[in-house]
Subunit: 217 residues, 2 copies
């Protein structure tokens, strides 16, 4: 599949590399073509890797991943172009965290609405799936590096889009019974609001190499 | 130990009964003495159970549990009396959820501060420990009804108070390695903000008989 990864940070690069390793073609999108980090990622990755503007990448991709900073994601996807997202699955892995008052950051959810919902409302012809935002990027693409079973959540209004997301997750090594559908895109609220607990746990453990598992009766 | 449980709802009654079953004496506190639910709980429980006003219960108790609704907890503890909380461990198991706009509810954290922090700031001579708010009350007092190991979190500024909380948790059947210290009372933010995810999971599973476990590398 042709996958556009919007965002050149650590999460975007880790996901982009893992998609290429899974046999997909990836174009990394950024605000301007020739972004230094994107060019370096293409050079390091080789076959299957390319880069361009947000709009170049989104127009080319069959699926789009939002790995931009959560506070700028609406702007980034607007730059990508609503027409380039239309009818496509958009995996939103971002977190709308405001660190301007220091640690712990605030989760920014105006009027209590999540970023996932805001993206879906702003780009109604896209199929937004919130997923993978609840863990470190190494865990996202390497779940088997942790012992036992643990959980990755998907939230979105389209069942078909969540099935596409689940296929990609299995490509990273996630087992089907570890992929937990938490409901429509409204459930992105809980997935984003989980981040402060994740940050507290990271502080307690001194490491991001952990994840939650769900234990049921 | 003499334990004051403030609040006559399902969580308060479940905790109060479990404390009595563990060999503690419990006084259930409510806004007025002779509260119908409190009287019924005393009658059903027998030895070790009593009831009274918030202030009666808090003055009598060596430890105080806040099991009132999160939106009225500051008022309830003010009615209990700062002098009756002074020097005591206050276990805050409440969640500041506003259901006035329907489901999912909003987590009420004015200026981004948790209820746990607000209680600690309002009653600076109490030793507030946020715990147990991340699960159904049957799981709180009966962790072994779920398979395997899972997690209960404690957050608070006093290490001694967290140790007292851990002793009480062990009395319910929690294992020491399941009790995860997430830091100072500021970490109550994450514990309270987890609730929307818990509610989504409950909706997906159709049951509250679940909990999170932490998987570490």
């Amino acid at each position: 599949m042709r996958i556009a990864v919007l965002g050149t940070g650590g999460v975007g690069a880790t996901l982009a590399s893992a998609f290429v390793a899974s046999g997909h073609e990836v174009r990394m999108g950024s605000r301007t073509a020739g972004n230094e980090k994107a060019v370096a990622w293409v050079a390091a990755t080789g076959d299957g890797a390319s880069e361009g503007t947000f709009a170049d990448a989104a127009a080319w991709g069959e699926l789009v991943v939002n790995a931009t900073g959560g506070l700028v994601s609406v702007d980034a996807l607007a730059a990508a172009g609503a027409e380039n997202l239309s009818g496509k699955v958009v995996l939103d892995v971002s977190n709308p965290l405001d660190f301007s008052d220091g640690f712990p950051p605030q989760v920014v959810q105006p009027d209590g609405r999540s970023l996932g919902e805001l993206l879906q409302a702003t780009f109604p012809d896209a199929h937004v799936v919130k997923t993978l935002n609840t863990m470190n990027s190494d865990v996202m693409v390497g779940p088997r590096a942790l012992p036992g079973t643990h959980a990755v959540f998907v939230a979105g209004d389209s069942t078909d889009a969540k099935a596409v997301a689940a296929d990609l997750l299995r490509g990273f090594g996630w087992q089907s019974d570890e992929i937990i559908d938490v409901g429509g895109i409204t459930a992105a609220r809980g997935l984003e609001l989980y981040l402060p607990l994740w940050l507290s746990l990271m502080g307690s453990f001194g490491s991001p190499a952990f994840n939650v598992s769900i234990v049921r009766a």
